[in-house]
């Protein structure tokens, strides 16, 4: 069991309140996922040539005492680049005006235990072990601003409870996926992707779905085509909620084994595994509430 939440605000005036509206949704899914939590928030995109990278130091020896300032100096000394670091304990968002790959390669080589959570122009990603309330407080989720977000509360079934196996998973740039369910062919998908140079970071089944769909998008599929290929290739139980720089997308397996409910008003689209995570949203009594059908694609634009 796991919990999924998603929120997209339709009016720019609501963007500063995105995190505040979402925190009760995430905490509402604690019974479905008490061991880890995480979320990806999509902000106003950076300029074309800029990238931000979310980093997690909780698996390094220093943990929350990681020397972020030192990392910035080293990147300057070795790669000759200026970086900005927004630090919050074991988490930092590194911003730089260069292609991200050399930076990520250097980090992987010199700080193999520093976990790269996400890369892109719009995405910031946070995930850690702990109850949803603990994780939300650790990273001050209620203060987050943005147009849309994807969140998850985890009750692990397919791999160990560690920060890197928490959701959301990311691949490529500005793409993330959360999953409630379990896949039966993740190793088949992985054996198909690895010879194509796609590298996996964990043994988690959700990572296979995330990398498969991002690979399809990178090969030129639009989101709908990629999701259709997902229906054909990914076997098992799933409700997937995905985020891109300007979209939220939801699909459920043909047997609808895992729940989902959507509430929509003029102000927002909110998605959760169960209605109890939507009950406290403003004007919920007048929202259009529906259950997404199995094997259908639901895509909302930010």
């Amino acid at each position: 069991m796991c919990g999924i939440v998603g929120l997209l605000v339709k009016k720019p005036a609501l963007r500063p309140r995105l995190g505040e509206l979402m925190v009760p949704m995430l905490i509402g899914m604690t019974e479905r996922g008490p061991d880890s939590a995480g979320l990806a928030v999509f902000t106003e995109p950076l300029a074309e040539g800029e990238r931000k990278i979310s980093l997690y130091s909780g698996m390094t020896e220093e943990g929350a005492d990681f020397n972020w300032l030192g990392l910035g100096h080293e990147l300057k000394a070795h790669l000759g680049i200026d970086t900005k670091l927004a630090v919050q304990g074991n988490h930092a968002i590194l911003t730089a005006s260069i292609a991200p790959e050399p930076v990520k390669r250097w980090i992987r080589e010199h700080y193999p235990r520093l976990h790269i959570l996400s890369t892109g122009r719009a995405i910031d990603l946070y995930k850690d072990i702990g109850t949803p309330a603990e994780v939300a407080a650790r990273y001050a989720f209620s203060g987050l601003a943005g147009s849309h977000l994807v969140g998850h509360t985890r009750m692990a079934t397919e791999s160990a409870v560690t920060p890197d196996r928490a959701h959301p998973f990311t691949a490529g740039e500005d793409f993330c996926l959360v999953h409630n369910g379990s896949l039966s062919n993740p190793y088949g998908v992985r054996r198909m992707l690895e010879p194509r140079g796609i590298r996996f970071e964990t043994d988690n089944d959700t990572e296979a779905a995330c990398r498969f769909l991002e690979w399809r998008l990178r090969e030129g599929d639009d989101l709908e085509t990629a999701l259709q290929k997902g229906f054909e290739e990914l076997d098992g139980f799933y409700t997937f909620l995905m985020g891109t720089a300007d979209k939220l997308a939801l699909i459920r397996d043909p047997f609808a084994c895992k729940p989902a409910v959507v509430a929509e008003t003029d102000d927002y689209v909110a998605i959760a595994s169960e209605f109890r995570s939507l009950a406290h949203l403003p004007d919920i009594k007048h929202a259009t509430v529906f259950e997404p059908a199995p094997e259908e694609m639901y895509v909302w634009n930010a």
Binding site: P254, F255, A256, P259, V261, E274, F275, R276, S277, L278, A279, H280, K285, V289, F290, E291, A293, P294
Partner: protein, 229 residues
């Protein structure tokens, strides 16, 4: 004290259920209104007296489960397993119902005004289900007894491995399950559909419904059948 209200934003669910189990029958309370259900699970489960319960808002999983005698109305949608294993009485969902509505029901009447999700009436053992909208795939799977009226469409594998339950469908059937077949409507079937629509307060013409029942070909083991898998 004939009528009671419980605001689930103020009192814990356990207080409501314990009242419905013990005090309502003892004190002769006939009507209970539940506000701010906010998707909580197990609202008004296991009732065993002829009380009327109105849930104003969306209910979570298993609302009205195991009901005996009570009449429970959800003015909103219901989560997974509404009226699961109902023995008698009535559960009425005014919105939509999620998966497994009326699963394993033995008796009583379940009315869903909107759509029902997958596996509606799975393993039905008796009683009646009337759905104003459509039902999802695998509905009435292995249904043993009882009746279902579906005013909208049915998804894939309707009535798979059906025993003696009978289904009436007005709309399109995406596909029938193994051993389910469409049969001619008799005068008794038209009367049944009318009776159930009346009980549910729905306006449809019984003549527009098809009857789906078991071909009974799975009742006996066929040693001659192709056993290669």
């Amino acid at each position: 004290m004939e009528r009671m209200s419980f605001d689930l934003a103020q009192v814990p669910l356990r207080e409501l259920n314990s009242f419905l189990h013990q005090d309502a029958p003892a004190k002769g309370v006939h009507q209970v209104v539940v506000t701010n259900p906010d998707g909580a699970h197990n609202i008004a489960v296991g009732l065993d007296c002829p009380v009327e319960v109105e849930i104003v808002g969306h209910a979570g999983y298993y609302a009205g489960g195991m009901n005996k005698l009570a009449s429970i109305t959800v003015v909103g949608s219901a989560g997974t397993g509404v009226a699961e294993n109902m023995m008698s009485g009535r559960v009425h969902v005014k919105g939509f119902a999620s998966n497994g509505a009326g699963a394993s029901m033995h008796g009583g009447l379940l009315v869903i005004d909107g759509d029902a999700g997958l596996r509606c009436g799975i393993s039905l053992k008796g009683g009646d289900i009337v759905v104003g909208g459509s039902v999802g795939s695998f509905s009435a799977f292995m249904a043993q007894a009882g009746r279902m009226v579906i005013c909208g469409d049915a998804g894939d594998a309707l009535g798979d491995s059906l025993y003696e339950a009978v289904l009436y469908v007005k709309g399109k059937i995406k596909s029938l399950g193994a051993d389910a077949q469409i049969e001619p409507m008799s005068a008794a079937d038209y009367a049944t559909v009318k009776e159930l629509l009346d009980a549910a307060g729905m306006q449809h013409d019984a003549k527009d419904f098809k009857r789906v029942a078991s071909a009974r070909s799975l009742y006996h083991w066929n040693a001659e059948a192709d056993q290669e898998y």
